[in-house]
């Protein structure tokens, strides 16, 4: 049995059918992690004992007839290390929070536990979710399971790599400017960033509060839908959570997309886009058209200015959100200091890595006296125009299709020296966060080097069902391509 190749929902169904127990599923997963982890370094911490205990408890609940409706009952799930887990270190892959143990669970953890999922470990990431390669992690980079000389993308690189390497059936990541979709694209897996406000942010350690959203990464749209069924829903602890009438995502996967109107922004195929990626996307568009979707190109407004606006807004919020790491209440404190100012300066200079510091300085600058209007306020206006552009597009289309990233996975060590170049890689993803929209990255073939290409489907606000349905229908046209790490 190649248990770890199964999908999450499939695994749960088989546990329910008593083909195997929750404990056996956990053991299979731990064995795979044991085999692969030194090579890929997806995890910051594997929760072997906790998972074994939890699996027994879940099995008892299932034996008692509970959890029959839960699509994730008995499924080991891995969690990005910026999502708080009670009693388990939650580090954000930062020296600053290396020893931080939250006394509370994030809302999504509560929901997963209630649904009988089993936490298998915490996943590596770019420090405080800032980065597109997972190289800014204090614990060292994660490697791409398709090619270990390449990055898995970021910031949820550990999550995407773990799912690709069968070190996880399903993972939760977070996405502020593409951090679920871009690594999903690089690692050949499916990841969805839900509409802002769909999943509670309570317990997600903030990077940029107005853009952050938790979402699943899996090997199919079906598993993403199942995970969303569990984790979405309103939460009184998150004021920005938006109650909805219906959350049944799995039910939306009919396989039927006849008549679906799909728009491709022509501007997406411009400078900087790898021709092989373009070819992949155009081929995927043809497949969708062959399934009955109406695909056409159109002009998406203001989207060229998404990256500048994103880096202004995200950095500004980050500079404020990360000011609380001051060596007083939790986390790292510099060992040697004379006075309070030194505690602040040394703790923060030693505790944070270069990319985090860079964004905090950009953030402090764009909010500082005399620059607020020219930068921060301007960015908020650009954001409004980007949203307008999408609103107009969604009057004509049900989904917007394009690449997730301009390239396939890049080599390790190539991006960090040139931050601006790294930022430009976010070109297709950040506008979606600024407008609050849902976006899913779906694998659509390989380039000539054998690296996965990802296409992005963007939906209208709360239009997860449409993009999941399209992604699912597309996935049904071919077999899932496993990373070459498979023995």
């Amino acid at each position: 049995m190649e248990v770890t190749k199964w999908g999450a929902k499939e695994l749960s169904d088989r546990i329910k059918a008593r083909e195997l127990s929750a404990s056996e599923a956990v053991e299979a997963q731990l064995a795979q992690i044991e085999r692969k982890e030194t090579r890929y370094h997806c995890y910051t911490r594997v929760l072997a004992e906790e998972a074994r205990e939890r699996a027994k408890e879940v099995q008892r609940r299932m034996d008692a007839g509970e959890l029959a409706d839960s699509p994730l009952a008995g499924v080991p799930v891995a969690i990005k290390d910026n999502i708080c887990t009670k009693g388990i270190p939650t580090t954000c892959s930062s020296r600053m929070l290396k020893n931080f143990v939250p006394p509370y669970d994030a809302a999504v953890i509560e929901r997963l536990q209630a649904a009988g999922a089993v936490l298998i470990g915490k996943l590596n990431m770019d420090e405080f979710a800032m980065g597109s390669t997972t190289e800014t992690s204090w614990f060292g980079p994660t490697k791409n399971p398709w090619d270990v000389t390449r990055v898995p993308g970021g910031s949820s690189g550990g999550a995407a790599a773990a799912v690709a390497a069968q070190e996880a059936f399903l993972a939760l990541g977070s996405d502020t400017g593409g951090s679920i979709r871009q690594p999903s694209s690089f690692c050949g897996v499916t990841g969805i960033k839900p509409t802002y406000g769909t999943v509670s942010r309570y317990g997600l350690i903030a990077y940029a509060s107005s853009l952050d959203q938790i979402g699943p990464i899996a090997r199919s749209a079906e598993d993403c839908a199942a995970a969303l069924d569990v984790i979405s829903g309103t939460d009184l602890r998150d004021s920005t959570c938006i109650p909805k009438e219906s959350y049944g995502y799995s039910k939306a996967l009919t396989g039927e997309i006849k008549g679906m109107r799909i728009g491709i922004p022509s501007g997406y195929f411009g400078d900087g886009l790898d021709p092989e990626v373009e070819r992949g996307i155009r081929k995927a568009a043809d497949v969708l058209a062959s399934l009955g979707a109406v695909v056409e190109e159109f002009e998406l407004k203001a989207v060229d200015y998404a990256i500048p606006a994103y880096y202004v807004i995200a950095s500004a919020e980050a500079s404020s959100n990360l000011s609380r790491y001051d060596g007083v209440k939790y986390g790292y404190r510099t060992p040697k200091y004379e006075d309070l100012q030194e505690v602040y300066l040394k703790t923060r200079s030693e505790g944070f890595g270069g990319e985090v510091k860079r964004r905090m300085m950009i953030g402090a600058f764009v909010l500082s006296s005399g620059y607020y209007d020219a930068y921060y306020n301007k960015a908020l206006k650009v954001k409004a125009l980007i949203k307008q552009g999408f609103d107009e597009a969604f009057q004509k289309y049900d989904c917007i299709l394009g690449p997730t990233a301009p390239t396939t996975a890049v080599k390790l060590g190539e991006s960090l020296s040139d931050p601006l170049k790294m930022y430009l890689g976010d070109i297709y993803t950040v506008s979606v966060n600024l407008a609050g929209l849902p976006g899913i990255s779906v694998p659509c073939g390989l380039d000539s080097r054998g690296l996965p290409i990802g296409m992005q489907l963007i939906g209208r606000a709360f239009g997860e069902k449409e993009i999941l349905r399209a992604a699912h229908a597309y996935e049904q046209t071919g077999e899932y391509l496993f990373a070459p790490c498979t023995e």
Binding site: S239, Y305, R348, V366, V382, L420
Partner: protein
């Protein structure tokens, strides 16, 4: 060049970061390149556009005025780098 040596020092002070001399030049260069790129958003005419801080118009999310929390001092202090008598500890703050 928007970021001079003075600006980088000012910005670092605001963010409570200490830049070593050898990091300063690189930081100035990086930030100037990034800000020059950010400035491209000025090409977009935003006259008359309302700045949008929330993408969706959600409003009036409240809690009722009911005490729900119990004492959890120990848990709150568990992560403190230095603590004493149920308090977090910092070097003496000078009040004058």
């Amino acid at each position: 060049m928007i970021i001079s040596e003075d600006t980088i020092e000012y910005v670092a002070a605001l963010a409570k970061l200490k830049l070593e001399e050898d990091q300063k030049d690189k930081a100035i260069e990086d930030l100037n390149r990034i800000l020059a790129y950010i400035d491209t958003m000025n090409e977009l005419d935003t006259d008359g556009i309302e700045p949008m801080s929330h993408a969706f118009e959600v409003k009036n999310v409240f809690r009722e005025d009911v005490v729900t929390n119990e004492e959890e001092t120990e848990a709150l202090l568990a992560n403190a780098p230095v603590k004493k008598d149920g308090c977090f500890v910092v070097p003496k703050t000078v009040e004058t």
